[in-house]
Amino acid sequence: MTNAHHATIVEEIATILANVQHPGDQFVMRVHAPKIAQKALPGQFVHIQVSPERPMRRPISIMLTNPEQGTVDLLIKAIGEGTERLRQRKVDEQLPMMGPIGHPFDLADPSKRYILIGGGVGIPPMIFVADHLQGQAETILFAGSEVPFPFALKPSTFLLPGIDSSVKMTIASLESRDIPCRLASKANMHGCFDGYVADLARSYLQALPQEERQRCVLLSCGPHPMLQSVAKLAHDLNIPAQLSLEEHMACAIGGCAGCVVETLEQGKRYYRRICVDGPVFDLNILPEFAA
């Protein structure tokens, strides 16, 4: 007897190919993990043993994969002992890593316009969605950060309704692939919207004609206050939203119920596991983000 989820996750000993440090304790790591690279979908994550001294694993979103070369890219911020140890890992070292894990974003409807809103280390899954949807469905990314963006930036040539022409900076790799994007920061960054990323997305959405707005779906990942603003935006404009959530994890395979979020489904309260029932949840079932 086998279930649909049987053998969907692989354990790989990944090799670090690059670990590039960025301001604000951020680092972008590229690893060779060919099986995970082959299978991963946007919204899924890997569970990494950062060092043998801290053997409990840390969940990290997949930012991009290259299935041909077998690589997986991650963007991480060192915020505690585990992520700090990971930051210090060197090229050619090995990392035990299981993945891809979790319920990905629902991107099935090509007639939708997907509005991606990422904050800080919630940006990586949004990059993966944008990459995945390129040429498949309309996609626009809004990213916010209080520390310098760990990407090459350039002025965009796309015009976006509701957004001032001075707000022109975008992520160069997205621009070159014709994916519109705008940035927000409260840290006075040139060419970025001076404010919160959810407000930047709101200006854009409010400027859209009603019938265009009704085709939009919000996808978001980031810090809790940002998700709350995104939820409010979705409620105010009556747009569906999918949120990617975080919680401490132990097994990341559904075994321990350590990683739960409260949901409300058909009038009943549950604690769902973020690792395998999420990390992506429909806004409608999350009481903590209710209108």
Binding site: E247, G254, G255, G258
Partner: protein, 318 residues
């Protein structure tokens, strides 16, 4: 999917008997770490053929939501958890979960919990008529306000729970002992006399962790159960203390608490574990079972030990 035979026919016999049951290997996946039996099949390379039994998450009569997050946190050489016995209730486990498990590949055991003697007995009665081959009694859960560890810390209450369940089921009963017991051997004796067929030694120790930035306890429940390598020396000592009384009554011990390497498994066997529990170790390495079995086999070949059961309790005086 067909699984290749684990070992050559000439390799050591890793089967073990436990409370009247024959386990295909001594490895037992511990309650609370492996959901309701099926979760680890998500990982490529995991095989139920590697394990003697899988113990389901702690189950109560009625469904329980469990505690508010955070529920887990890594601490030096281990972790804290306070799940709060999230489970859908015994009836649901029997009607919806057990029928879907592959009982031909390994055994599944229940983990019974309650906040009264009646509830423990009722859970036992419900599982009595089910395909689980044994019932572990959790009288040592530190993470719920009622019942749990309060039963486990009082040897007479512990024995009363066992007796109540004994009257309600003919399945083998395995009592899970708390390391917080003042005299674990005495509690073991009372539980055996009340009808326990096996002992699980040990459950987690109670601990806490603090977030200095928020100035709050990290765990939503404030305290949590400490597991992993940090508790291994305590586990070995508690098994050692329990071994004499268990042996006297011919009662097996399921040794557990911080077993994360093949070497740990050999230590637990030597001190007297008829079966070996894996919990937190699976979080370190989801493919731990295969590695522990290989390590056990290599050790037994090297020391010319033909049967796992010959290794159990081989500990010499220093």
């Amino acid at each position: 999917m067909m699984t290749a035979p684990l070992f050559e026919p000439t390799s050591p016999d890793l089967s073990t008997t436990f409370a009247g049951l024959t386990l295909q290997t001594p490895l037992v996946l511990l309650s609370g770490c492996v959901g309701f039996g099926d979760e680890y099949t998500r990982i490529e390379g995991y095989s139920h053929a590697h394990v003697g039994a899988v113990i389901l998450k702690g189950t109560t009569l009625e469904p329980r939501m469990g505690n508010k997050p955070h529920r887990v946190y890594e601490t030096p050489s281990g972790m804290l958890n306070a799940i709060g016995l999230q489970n859908p209730g015994a009836r649901y486990v029997i009607d919806e979960i057990l029928p879907k498990l592959p009982h031909d590949q390994t055994q599944f055991w229940a983990n019974a919990n309650g906040s009264s003697l009646d509830e423990y007995a009722e859970v036992a009665r419900i599982f009595d008529d089910s395909p689980v081959t044994a019932i572990e009694i959790n009288i040592s859960c530190p993470n719920v306000k009622e019942g749990g560890v309060h039963f486990g810390n009082d040897p007479c209450m512990a024995a009363k729970v066992v007796a109540a369940m004994r009257a309600a089921t003919s399945k083998p009963l395995i009592t899970k002992l708390s390391p917080n017991n003042a005299d674990i051997a005495e509690t073991a004796r009372l539980c055996i006399e009340a009808g326990s067929d096996g002992l699980s030694v040990i459950n987690t120790l109670v601990g806490m962790a603090i977030d200095i930035e928020q100035r709050t306890p990290v765990i939503g429940n404030i305290s949590g159960g400490l597991s992993g390598p940090a508790v291994k020396p305590v586990a070995l000592w508690k098994i050692h203390q329990t071994r004499a009384i268990a042996q006297k009554h011919n009662i097996p011990i399921l040794g557990q608490g911080g077993l994360t390497t093949p070497k740990d498994a050999i230590e637990f066997a030597l001190v007297g574990s008829q079966a070996l529990g894996l919990g937190t170790g699976l979080f370190y390495d989801p493919l731990l079972c295969g590695k522990v079995l290989k390590g056990l086999r290599d050790y037994m070949v090297r020391h010319d030990i033909a049967r796992y059961e010959d290794l159990v309790g081989m500990l010499q005086q220093p």
